[in-house]
């Protein structure tokens, strides 16, 4: 089963952080408090969009052909994603400032 990393707290909807990491081979465990990378904070759909974007060398025209969507639809999706990334970055910055 392909498990999804939970990124939002089910209780307060805040951004979750990683408490411990473990090596599956020797079971060495590292404990601490690690922030999730920005990309993992995005939804699965947004992550797939970014993968498609990279695979198409950043060409929105190629992406629209490949995904069978119109050019403005793809461009709108990218613009919304950029706005969302800016928002997440601001939130991460604010959280760091609070610590």
């Amino acid at each position: 089963m392909n498990k999804k990393i939970p990124i939002q707290c089910p209780s307060c909807s805040g951004q979750l952080q990683v408490r411990s990491l473990e090596c599956p081979a020797c079971h060495t465990r590292v404990e601490g408090l690690f922030s999730l990378p920005l990309l993992t904070s995005l939804s699965e759909e947004d992550q797939l969009f970014i993968i498609e974007f990279v695979k198409n060398s950043g060409s929105l025209k190629e992406m629209s052909k490949h995904l069978k969507l119109s050019y403005p639809s793809i461009r709108n999706r990218l613009d919304d994603l950029i706005a969302h990334i800016h928002k997440l970055q601001r939130e991460q910055k604010n959280e760091l400032a609070k610590r």
Binding site: K68, L69, S70, Y71, P72, S73, R75, D79, D80
Partner: protein, 220 residues
């Protein structure tokens, strides 16, 4: 093509079709709608208008349609540029707005047989007769009534209802064309579209009065 996509094609095909493709299809449909309108006496003068029982040449129908579409594009494109933070392409705005006028073909075809034109002609005749009874006046080019059976009235009213629906459908398509091309959402998209369409409507009616009517007068 899946079910969701099939359904969306009727009210928002612009998620899948825009740019030059939409422009070519839209212009092609505009040419056909003007032809159908000429044959069935249904005219599309203005951003959102439909007039029944209008006898005009194909040239007048086509020029009016193209001019009305161009005015809508000329109003909505700069409005979208001013409001949206996205990079908007003129070809997307022009193409999607051209394709959004596709319901005009359905409206044009719905006039086949001239039933809706006959019904409107008879209504206008009765209205002018009643007006003349109340206020004596000398109206130029008076209408004459056309005989219609009960079933013809029934069909004509349904066809007029269908023509009204095509205007609603076209408005919905134009809104989605504008929203998708400009990447605008919510209140900003709705309010700017309404304001833009009101301006486009006023401008198109003015342009038609200044361009098409003199053209008609020069031709007659």
């Amino acid at each position: 093509m899946n079910w969701r996509r099939d359904k969306a094609i009727w009210y928002n095909p612009f998620e899948y079709l825009a740019g030059y493709k939409a422009l070519l299809i839209g212009l092609g449909l505009m040419v056909l709608a003007s032809l159908a309108g000429t044959l069935t006496q249904i005219w599309f003068p203005g951003a959102l208008d439909l007039k029944v029982a209008y006898e005009g040449s194909y040239g007048v129908h086509l020029v009016t349609s193209v001019l009305s579409w161009l005015i809508v594009v000329a109003v909505l494109y700069p409005l979208a540029r001013g409001l949206s933070s996205s990079k908007i392409r003129l070809v997307d705005m022009a193409g999607t707005l051209a394709l959004a006028r596709a319901p005009q073909l359905v409206a044009g075809l719905s006039g086949i047989g001239g039933l809706s034109s006959k019904a409107v002609n008879n209504w206008l005749y009765h209205i002018t007769e009643e007006l003349q009874g109340a206020i004596p006046m000398d109206l130029p080019g008076r209408l004459s009534p056309v005989e219609m059976q009960g079933w013809e009235w029934f069909l004509a009213i349904n066809l007029l209802g269908l023509q009204l629906l095509t205007i609603v459908w076209m408005t919905a398509l134009m809104y989605h064309a504008y929203r998708v091309s400009a990447n605008l959402k919510g209140t900003r998209a709705g309010v700017s579209f309404v304001v833009g369409m009101l301006i486009a409507e006023a401008l198109s009616v003015f342009a038609i009065l200044r361009l098409i009517v003199p053209l008609l007068q020069a031709g007659s």
